[in-house]
């Protein structure tokens, strides 16, 4: 009981302590070795840059742009990924015949397509959204495909013995046993969607936080670069936590959620 509580409290103690430790070590190293702040700025300077970033209207506009790209790409990946995953999961012959193509497109370095996307979709939002969606698509599609195939035989037989219609099978059984797989895919996908949007901004256009990172680097503003990386990490964390919270809401019965609440280890 008390051991349980201790285990749950552990990350709340360890994480802040580690962060403090890292910041202190950072400061010590920078001072001790007299590192050039252009190469590796001390934590204080990064913090100042971070504060100035958060009080800068342009930064907020860039944040809105980037977040819009991420969410749009993620939602497109969700819709397409679920549809393709369900169809391929249901039609085994189609999945088997497309499998080589899927594997190839999955291992292909999609970031390399950015120049093409810029040619096709321009320097605006679209090319970033496309890259973001493309990266997020695969984990969702593959997990959904796996989920469709993983419905328990015993559960299917329950539905058969109850004379369930196809529609009822889908809404009461298949869709629901699919959800944990979908959320597992979504947790990976939201991270990849974030990467997609930022890399897209690195390589083309003049909008968004990725573009600000490039601009800060070009003006040799290492502190601002660090501050932007910090800000992007926070955005990524918040998006991940939103997906995680959705998961807790939609599948409270699943091990991945339920087990956390009731660890008996």
């Amino acid at each position: 009981m008390s051991r349980n509580r201790a285990i749950k409290l552990l990350p709340w103690i360890v994480t802040p302590s580690l962060i403090v430790l890292i910041v202190v070590a950072w400061q010590v190293i920078v001072t001790a070795f007299n590192v050039n702040p252009f190469i590796f700025p001390p934590p204080g300077e990064v913090w100042e840059a971070f504060v100035s970033l958060l009080t800068n209207e342009r930064a907020w506009a860039a944040t809105l742009t980037t977040v819009t790209e991420i969410i749009t790409g993620f939602l497109i990946a969700m819709v397409v990924g679920v549809v393709v995953g369900v169809v391929l999961g249901k039609l085994q012959w189609l999945e088997v015949s497309l499998r080589p193509l899927i594997v190839i497109s999955q291992v292909a370095p999609k970031v390399a397509f950015v120049p093409l996307f810029v040619i096709w979709f321009g320097f605006g939002l679209t090319s970033k959204v496309v890259l973001s969606a493309l990266l997020a698509f695969f984990p969702i599609m593959l997990n959904v495909l796996l989920g469709v195939r993983s419905v328990e035989q015993g559960h299917r037989e329950v539905m058969t013995s109850l004379n369930a219609t196809r529609r009822q099978r889908f809404t009461q059984l298949e869709m629901r046993s699919l959800l944990p797989y979908l959320f597992a895919g979504m947790e990976v996908a939201i991270v990849l969607a974030t990467i997609g949007a930022i890399v897209g901004e690195y390589l083309g256009g003049n909008n968004g936080l990725g573009n600000m990172v490039v601009a800060a680097m070009n003006s040799l503003d290492a502190a601002m670069t660090f501050a932007l990386i910090l800000w992007l990490s926070i955005i990524g964390l918040v998006l991940y936590l939103i997906v995680n919270e959705l998961k807790r809401f939609f599948i409270p019965w699943h091990e991945s959620v339920y087990g956390l609440r009731n660890t008996s280890a």
């Binding site: 015993g154 109850l162 004379n163 219609t165 046993s177």
Partner: protein, 281 residues
């Protein structure tokens, strides 16, 4: 006491809406099922003839692999027969490999694993069959609560299946199967995974529920005393091919108490079955 439909349990007659008494609930003729595998053809079940009366409790017993599950799955509309026919209340269950949906609605199946849906609460699991039949939410919830009470799960309606013990899950599965008031309840080793004491308690509860609902039951088990305790007739099957070797009546008054298991008559039947099953090799 639950407020379910309570029939007069002493009467062995069919309820008024059932067909004439001379039509058996279940009429099986020359039933057989083969499986073709890499190793060749298995005659899992072959030449089964069996009639089961309305309100009768029949236990299927026999060595592992003698075709009990295969037989039950065919009766349950889950597996099509290779030969022979199954009639439920005089209506043919199988048309080739197609199952007649109206005949299936009369059946309730309790699987070896409870097969509850982990995303539904106990109450929603019990109510699922009614949901599929379009019973309104308020009504099915009320009836599911009554069924939960019938199987002794009051207070656990909102729990997820994972929060229940194995025996409680099995009881929830029985309640789910009962929720459509099936005319024929099919149970495949429902208590196989339980310890002896829980199993004994479940047997008593099952007997009470079956008497209260006047259900007809086909019950698969490995446990000889369990079969004799619950059943009106014990069907003893032998493997390869799965056939009926003998049918032993166990005509003891119901409801039966655990004391029955110490009587000479009871043990006579148990001993005979044990001996006969033992001598096959």
């Amino acid at each position: 006491m639950p407020t379910m439909t309570t029939h007069d349990t002493s009467a062995r007659v069919a309820p008024s809406n059932a067909p004439a008494p001379e039509v058996p609930r279940l009429h099986i003729t020359d039933l057989g099922r083969d499986f073709t595998t890499r190793a060749g053809v298995t005659h899992a079940v072959s030449g089964i003839d069996l009639d089961i009366r309305v309100g009768e409790f029949v236990a299927l017993i026999g060595r592992s692999g003698c075709g009990k599950t295969t037989l039950l799955r065919m009766i349950g509309g889950l597996l099509s027969p290779t030969t022979g026919t199954i009639e439920v209340d005089g209506r043919s269950l199988w048309r080739g490999a197609q199952v007649d949906p109206t005949a299936v609605t009369k059946l309730g199946f309790v699987f070896q694993e409870s097969n509850l849906f982990p995303w539904f609460s106990v109450l929603d699991n019990i109510a699922l069959p009614m949901k599929l039949r379009g019973v309104g939410k308020a009504e099915r919830r009320a009836r599911a609560a009554d069924l939960a009470a019938l199987v002794g799960l009051t207070g656990f309606e909102k729990s997820y299946p994972r929060e229940l013990s194995g025996g409680m899950r099995q009881r929830a599965a029985i309640a789910r199967a009962l929720s459509t008031e099936p005319e024929l309840l099919l149970m495949d080793e429902p208590f196989g995974a339980l310890d002896a004491l829980t199993r004994e308690r479940m047997n008593l509860e099952l007997q009470r529920i079956v008497l209260e609902t006047n259900s007809t039951v086909v019950f698969v088990t490995h446990d000889i005393p369990e079969a004799v305790f619950l059943a009106d007739r014990v069907v003893h099957m032998t493997p390869r091919p799965g056939r009926i070797r003998q049918i032993l009546p166990a005509e003891f008054e119901k409801p039966r108490s655990v004391d029955l298991q110490t009587t000479v008559e009871f043990n006579e039947i148990v001993r005979k079955l044990r001996h006969d099953i033992d001598e096959e090799e």
